[in-house]
């Protein structure tokens, strides 16, 4: 108990040191397994598409004391006897059938109203023509492609293209897992679910960008010392941004949980409930993927860049790295870098533009290294750095 309190206190004070690169290896296996399960379920079980995508009609009526069997009895003779019937939230009956003819729709409506002892106006009805669904799906797919393209360009311009690759990979990971969740448990896909998936994408990207921005800030400073590999700097950044991610996830999940709970108790809030379920999965997966999938991919790609490959090579030669665990960036180096960054920022009006130039180019990093601090060890050599290996 005291141990847990100690861990929590360390997190609150910011003294925690989580070895992310070590966790990445486990995460990779875990993510791969979940993605394979999701895709497998998608291939085998498919998705339970709502009438909005396939055409048909859905009726909803408040009927607290009615069972599915009673509803099926009542629908005999209306042409909807083979309909899908569910109870939602304990007191709403939902019937879905492949019926679009207005008179048949009205017959079912009448039968349900009679069953529940209410007037016809208390029955909610949604009818969708068969071609409408495909129209909606086409539009959604186009929107999705445009979205991916725009976001990739945006991140490539604002951050860098390797981060765009990492962010998109993380988003696709999240969507595959969320859709897989729906396929596995055969939850119905409704327009609300689609909105939820879109939100998940937005949230995942948002979170990834916040993480990447921190990585760039830290890397821009610490590269100057030349003492740490990209992965080690990434680890420092992730530790710095961890509490932000945790707190944001908690504050985002709270309203969603409240939707889920309220939705399952209150009549008529079925849409809220469905929406909340998808979001809950999405937010958790989205936070995870920013710290693990998106970060790990960028670290792997950046380590191949000459400047970071060089640093890693030198550190290996010195035998400073040891076994499995990731070295922790010393407070001194992090702070020194910070001082240099501040000094640079004092010149330019916005302090992050300094970090941007330092992050990418080896030359810039070398310059700040020579100008910044006296305690800097061998600087990265540009000539050998061009070799790719």
């Amino acid at each position: 108990m005291r141990r847990i309190a100690g861990v929590l206190r360390a997190f609150y004070r910011g003294d925690h040191q989580v070895d992310f690169p070590r966790l990445w290896r486990h995460a990779l296996i875990g993510s791969l397994a979940v993605v394979v399960i999701s895709l497998g379920s998608f291939a085998v079980r498919g998705l339970d598409l709502g009438i909005e995508f396939e055409g048909g009609t859905s009726w909803e009526v408040p009927a607290p004391q009615t069972s599915v069997a009673q509803a099926r009895d009542a629908l005999r003779g209306t042409g909807a006897a083979d309909a899908k019937i569910q109870t939602l939230g304990g007191d709403t009956i939902r019937v879905r059938a492949d019926i679009e003819d207005p008179e048949a729709v009205d017959r079912v409506r009448g039968a349900l109203a009679e069953l529940a002892g209410v007037t016809g106006n208390e029955v909610s009805v949604t009818t969708v023509g068969p071609s409408w669904g495909s129209e909606i799906t086409d539009k959604a797919r186009n929107a999705l492609l445009a979205f991916f393209a725009l976001i990739a360009v945006y991140i490539a311009v604002r951050l860098e293209w390797k981060m765009a690759v990492g962010a998109l990979a993380a988003v696709i990971h999240d969507i595959v897992v969320s859709v897989g969740f729906y396929s596995l448990f055969q939850f119905e896909i409704t327009p609300a679910t689609v909105i939820a998936f879109l939100t998940i994408m937005g949230y995942s990207l948002y979170d990834t960008i916040v993480v990447y921005d921190k990585v760039r800030e830290v890397v821009g400073r610490v590269t100057a010392t030349g003492r740490y590999t990209y992965t080690e700097m990434m680890n420092l950044s992730l530790n710095k941004v961890l509490m932000r991610s945790v707190n944001t996830s908690i504050t985002s999940v709270i309203p969603v949980l409240s939707m889920l709970v309220i939705g399952s108790f209150v009549l008529g809030a079925v849409t809220l409930q469905e929406f909340a379920l998808a979001l809950l999965v999405g937010i958790v997966v989205g936070t995870y993927s920013s710290l693990f999938v998106a970060a790990a991919l960028v670290a792997k790609m950046k380590e191949r860049e000459p400047i970071y490959a060089d640093i890693a090579e030198r550190i290996r030669m010195r035998g400073a790295s040891s076994g499995d665990a990731t070295r922790v960036v010393a407070d001194d180096d992090a702070a020194l870098g910070a001082a240099a960054a501040t000094k640079r920022a004092a010149g330019s009006r916005d302090s992050w533009s300094g970090a941007r130039t330092a992050a990418g180019a080896g030359a810039a990093a070398a310059k700040t290294a020579s100008a910044g601090s006296p305690a800097i060890p061998p600087r990265p050599r540009k000539t050998t750095g061009r070799k790719r290996r």
């Binding site: 929107a143 976001i151 909105i195 309220i262 939705g263």
Partner: protein
């Protein structure tokens, strides 16, 4: 410093003015039909349609809806479709049927009736049709066609063989529903006087009355949207057709009051220039709508309350600022949503509400990003005052980058999708922009101001920032981390326990 005061005072004044305006003008958010009950339908033309034709159709539909007495209908074209939304409408199904009805009225002479043995149910003997060069259904005004007449149970009662169209609905001036004791409810259309209207009708009636070859039955069929409503015989002393040198007629077909009123309504405003087919229709009962609304509001409030509590416990004074900042953007949102509803007729739907609930998370994050920057800087030995000035530009640039991604997402969804997703995107985008405003003009400056308040800046723990570790423990942890690599997972709790003991 002066600028910070100006920002804070400015934004609070703007928000207060907005709220005051909203209260004074009585603006209220317009609720979508999924939150107050009602009906909606998406109508698609069955064939190619010109934009002008769609505009005319929208106008006619609007007139019909007004005739029904719906309070705030929204009828618009969207892509090549017509979107009709009738929030709060009572008889939803009837309203939807009326809205989409083509109401193509034709008068045709009756050539005969198909013998009963030539059709079973919906299937007509094709060979017979071919032999007489007849087609089933109204294919062209000049063609000879076979059209059904339905009984009350919507079963086909008769199939008439009809001659070319004599008069169309264009010849009508208007129509009303009337009641007379011995014929019951009927529809009384009035014709345009002269050659374009009543003369055409009188001509066909005379011919039928004479029972010439083109009208051997002596009946004139009244056809509405491919169905024969009734086919009365033309007789001078007929109850239905009084002497045909008249300016008005009545159409009776054993109508109920509602049927008569509906037919009169659609005839009154004329036929739609294109035939429309319902692609998607939705009927939400009033109780379902209000339940969804109250559930959304309750969920939002509970969620907000718990988030506030968490922020207060974790960030103390900063949490208070975050809550105030949330409240500020909330007030701006309310003003804008109410204004949009009142002046643009833009309704807040359930999808919109969920977009807003999601936006709570994004707004809180803007605060969290900044606060965590502050904590980090104070931890690395800065005073709170210098940390505040340094951290804000860095944090704000992160917030802008991330929010821009959300905005791009919202814009793409808004412009490229339809229906619910659009509403969601609109409110998500709106909330994101307001978050940026609240962060830049309120949250940042006000923390700058209070961090200068003596008695606060020298005690960062009131800001939920752990007091920097004492010099002794700092050098300790420093030497430890420099000594060699350490396994983070194991070192974390150890270091924490040691520090806990030290302080």
């Amino acid at each position: 410093m002066r600028r910070k005061f100006a920002y804070v005072i400015g934004i609070v004044a703007v928000v207060a003015a907005g709220v005051a305006y909203t209260l004074a003008s009585g603006n209220e958010p317009l609720l979508g039909l999924d939150l107050q009950g009602g009906a909606s339908v998406v109508l698609e033309p069955t064939g190619p349609a010109e934009p002008e034709e769609l505009e005319v159709a929208v106008e006619i539909i609007r007139n019909r809806v007004d005739g029904l007495g719906v309070a705030e209908p929204e009828i618009s074209t969207q892509g090549g479709n017509i979107l009709v939304q009738l929030p709060g409408v009572d008889e939803q199904q009837r309203a939807l049927d009326l809205v989409g009805q083509t109401a193509e009225l034709r008068f045709r002479p009756v050539l005969g009736v198909l013998p009963e043995e030539s059709f079973t149910g919906d299937d007509v003997d094709e060979a017979l049709l071919d032999a007489f060069a007849l087609t089933e259904g109204d294919v062209a005004p000049e063609a000879e066609v076979v059209l059904p007449q339905y009984d009350d149970q919507r079963n086909i009662a008769l199939r008439y063989i009809l001659g070319p169209t004599a008069v169309t609905g264009d010849g009508l001036e208007g129509a009303v529903a009337q009641y007379q004791s011995f014929i019951g409810w009927h529809v009384a259309p009035t014709f345009i006087s002269g050659a374009a209207g009543i003369d055409l009708f009188n001509e066909v009636s005379s011919r039928c009355h004479a029972r010439i070859v083109e009208c051997p039955s002596g009946q004139v069929a009244i056809e509405l949207d491919n169905e024969v409503v009734s086919a009365p015989s033309v007789q001078a002393d007929s109850v239905v057709f009084e002497p045909f040198e008249r300016s008005s007629i009545t159409i009776s077909g054993g109508f109920s009051e509602q049927e008569a009123r509906d037919i009169a309504l659609v005839l009154d405003y004329g036929a739609l220039p294109v035939e429309l087919e319902a692609q998607q229709s939705q009927i939400v009962s009033a109780s379902l709508g209000t339940d969804a609304l109250s559930a959304g509001v309750v969920a939002g409030l509970i969620g907000l309350g718990l988030v506030s509590l968490y922020l207060l416990v974790y960030y103390r004074l900063l949490g208070l600022v975050a809550i105030a900042s949330l409240g500020l953007s909330g007030a701006m949102l309310w003003t804008i949503i109410a204004w949009l509803g009142e002046s643009q007729g833009l309704a807040l739907t359930l999808a919109g509400v969920t977009g807003l609930i999601v936006a709570i998370g994004v707004s809180v994050d803007s605060n969290v990003v900044y606060f965590e920057h502050l904590r980090e800087d104070v931890r690395s030995g800065r005073t709170l005052r210098s940390a505040v000035d340094r951290a804000f530009p860095v944090a704000f640039s992160t917030i802008v980058k991330a929010d821009l991604a959300s905005l791009i997402a919202a814009a793409v969804l808004y412009f490229l999708t339809v229906g619910q997703v659009r509403g969601f995107a609109l409110y998500l985008g709106l909330a994101t922009i307001l978050d940026l405003v609240a962060t830049y003009f309120f949250m940042g400056p006000i923390i700058g101001i209070i961090s200068r308040h003596s008695g606060l800046y020298d005690n960062p723990s009131r800001f939920g920032i752990p007091v920097p570790a004492a010099p002794a423990s700092q050098s300790h942890s420093h030497s430890q981390s420099q000594a060699q690599s350490q396994t983070g997972a194991a070192a974390g709790p150890e270091a924490a326990a040691r520090q806990g003991a030290a302080s």
